[in-house]
Symmetry: C2
């Protein structure tokens, strides 16, 4: 994790990874077969840890949106993991990247989760599905984009405050009768 976060996938060397865990390169490849498989294993391990931390009853609706703001707050305490995802998700759009499918599927799943949560929180009619989708994509995007800014200039970026502001503002736009008074004053 640390090596992929510090160097990106392409620039990470198996020699360095083997060195850090006290194995030979052949030893690492005995367990993971290739650098590409090691990378996707690391990402899946991280996801499993997050899912386990969430517990058996995944929060729904408004509670899930609050969980996202809380994730942004916790992320400010775990620079290594934030860097891992920020670097690899963007690097995954380069040609033939081994984590491209992983991130495409991950975003597909996240977009659907967040859109469902918005739909449940706002109780919107079916003809607002397009706006709900645009809002869901924006919430995931703002969390990702803040991470890069924060990694470069931690004192200039409050990831949780900006995420909260966007979620609150989008809820007020989508369902003004329900959330319109939720002003941050």
């Amino acid at each position: 994790m640390d090596t992929f976060a510090a160097r990106g996938y392409n620039n990470a060397s198996l020699a360095e990874i083997a060195d850090r865990v006290g194995l030979t390169q052949a030893g690492v490849l005995h367990y993971f077969r290739s650098k590409a498989l090691l990378l996707t294993s690391v990402l899946e391990l991280r996801d499993r840890a997050d899912i386990e931390q969430l517990g058996p009853d995944r929060p729904q609706g408004l509670e899930f949106l609050r969980h996202l703001v809380n994730t942004a707050l916790r992320n400010a305490e775990r620079e290594g993991i934030v860097r891992l995802y920020a670097v690899l998700s963007a690097e995954s759009v380069t040609d033939d990247h081994p984590a491209q499918e992983y991130f495409r599927d991950r975003y597909d799943g996240l977009r659907a989760f967040v859109a469902d949560a918005l739909h449940e929180a706002c109780d919107l009619p079916a003809d607002r599905a397009g706006t709900t989708r645009d809002a869901a994509n924006a919430i995931i995007a703002v969390m990702d984009g803040l991470q890069v800014q924060w990694l470069l200039s931690p004192d200039s970026v409050d990831m949780a405050a900006s995420t909260d502001l966007v979620v609150t503002s989008l809820l007020a736009t989508l369902a003004p009768e329900r959330f319109g008074t939720a002003s941050p004053h």
Copy 2:
């Protein structure tokens, strides 16, 4: 530009770049001295093109915010440039990356521009500077984050619609008396 966008900086080879422009590697290094200097020159050239396209009278306030939504719309027609910035901005947070300073300065400048535009559009008192800053950071973040999602799944992401929704919603939250009726219904 194409090579850095397709491979990222670390994985881009000078040999490939030289080949694509019909020079030897020594020929490329005659003009740019190092791969790192070639990268920062490419980024500065792109910025200069964008600034020239903007004209001598940079839009201010609400007009600048509308310009950002318009940029998101135009970006959906220029995948190569979007990929260049998405890959390199995230890669710049890796150890000793040659464009780290470039992106840190670029985001500092962008954050200040967008915060000024929000301040002017909303005419907020000084004690709202923190919220204005959080909103400015979020607008830049949402544009960046949407790019990665769009590059992976162009049919699932409408960059301009999501950016517009966030800008509209943040304006309504910051200055409800001025923008509170700007509902997307």
